[in-house]
């Protein structure tokens, strides 16, 4: 009797566990293949995005009451309405969004305003070397150096994939800096303060890198 027994149950268990642990290593490359081959993938359920927030509620955008304040080390502090933001010189770009937790969304179409154009009227003082983006989602904030903010594919975006930013994506305006992980791409920006030096943002206080270059920070 004993000889006809096979430990299939144990093998199934160990095999799946081994495969799953190995997937921590090869999961990412494999997904690049399966995403191309099969429409039955996470991408078609979520669009690839996950919505990360830190507060109890998501800020709600009211077009008439919303203002973007630009202040700090500037000659002329500004308070822009949504309409005024849309009247500034517009830029578009297609870029990839990387989250530090490991997910990526490719080919996102952004429309918005480059920081050179956004800051032109405010005229940053020579002592201004960094920008702090204060989110309407308190207490979220993060900063970039002026140099980083002026990179050619960095913008304050108000549209994504041809439509105004939706609430989960930071309506009406968010930072887009494809070089860095998502937590530097502050959503629901309500105030930009120019400062002499960059300050630690929400996640940086919690141990994340301030210069969050994709592939070269936060242990990646």
């Amino acid at each position: 009797m004993k000889s006809d027994l096979r430990p299939y149950g144990r093998r199934a268990f160990l095999g799946i566990v081994a495969g799953g642990v190995a997937a921590l290593v090869w999961g990412r490359p494999l997904q690049r293949v399966t995403a191309r081959l099969s429409p039955v993938s996470a991408f078609f359920v979520t669009g690839g995005w996950r919505i990360y927030t830190v507060a109890a509620t998501m800020p709600r955008f009211d077009q008439d009451r919303w203002r973007l304040r630009i202040d700090g080390l500037v000659e002329h502090p500004q308070e822009l309405t949504y309409r005024e933001l849309l009247k500034l010189p517009q830029a578009t770009q297609v870029s990839t969004f990387h989250c530090v937790t490991g997910w990526t969304v490719q080919n996102v179409h952004w429309q918005g305003v480059r920081f050179a154009d956004l800051l032109a009227a405010a005229k940053p003082l020579p002592s201004a070397k960094a920008l702090t983006f204060v989110s309407a989602e308190e207490p979220y904030a993060d900063s970039l150096t002026l140099e980083q903010a002026l990179l050619p594919d960095v913008m304050l975006a108000h549209s994504m994939d041809g439509r105004p930013l939706t609430r989960p994506h930071g309506a009406p305006a968010r930072v887009v800096i494809p070089e860095m992980y998502g937590y530097k791409n502050v959503k629901w920006v309500g105030r930009i303060e120019l400062t002499a030096a960059p300050a630690d943002g929400y996640w940086e206080v919690r141990g994340y890198d301030r210069d969050a270059y994709v592939g070269h920070s936060n242990g990646h």
Partner: protein
């Protein structure tokens, strides 16, 4: 024979493990989907709270499983584990789609148990890495979150099949009684798990299966 006799199929320890796992799974699935699906994230909004529910449910799940195993009938659990691990010739025949007499667990149930246990362990490992990786970059791997997602899809598929067989499918849904009240109709057991009923007869009377009826009587009285 009358269909009113019942055989004890699952012990209280086994049932407690099953329902701890099942209830935690539903809480984890619901909170996990809120964290995962943008539309739900927006509708529910309170991410820090939902994340807390998800993480602490997982901790409570692991602790409760450990507690039940520690305080429950461990000898019986070990025996059940051996039963689930080993497949005999009939089990292998059954897996190829042919009819073959089955024991207390049929081969499909054995596989389901092995897969469920493996997915649970992987959920715990990948979830633990996600949680700890947020604090220590050394434990942050690019694929962790994808593995956690895939586990969700796999276990969801497994759950749909499991629920269908346990609740809807007319031939098998009587098994649910075994997992809720502990016992199943003898007549049903003889049809679906004949080798198990034979074993019970053997072990209780120490006699060949021909004398089965009385053994079944004894079991049904004690467990109803």
């Amino acid at each position: 024979m009358s269909g009113e006799r019942y055989l004890r199929r699952f012990s209280r320890t086994e049932r407690a493990l099953h329902w701890v796992h099942a209830s935690a799974f539903f809480v984890l699935l619901a909170s996990g989907l809120v964290l995962y699906l943008p539309s739900l994230s927006e509708a529910v909004s309170r991410r820090p709270l939902v994340k807390g529910v998800h993480v602490y449910t997982a901790v409570a799940w692991a602790a409760a499983l450990g507690l039940v195993a520690a305080l429950g009938d461990r000898r019986e659990l070990r025996r059940t584990m051996r039963e689930l691990e080993w497949f005999d010739a009939d089990d292998r025949r059954w897996l190829t789609g042919r009819r073959a007499p089955q024991g207390r667990f049929n081969a499909g149930q054995k596989l389901n148990a092995a897969i469920t246990a493996a997915l649970a362990l992987l959920f715990a490992v990948s979830g633990g890495l996600l949680w700890y990786g947020e604090r220590n970059t050394q434990y942050r791997f690019a694929s962790t979150i994808l593995v956690h997602d895939w586990l969700m899809y796999l276990s969801l598929a497994l759950l749909v099949g499991h629920l269908y067989l346990a609740v809807l499918h007319p031939a098998t849904r009587h098994a649910l009684r075994g997992m809720t009240l502990g016992s199943v109709r003898e007549e049903w057991a003889r049809e679906h798990h004949p080798k198990w009923v034979e074993e019970l007869d053997h072990s209780l009377l120490g006699r060949p299966p021909g004398r089965a009826e009385k053994a079944s009587d004894a079991i049904s009285r004690s467990s109803r």
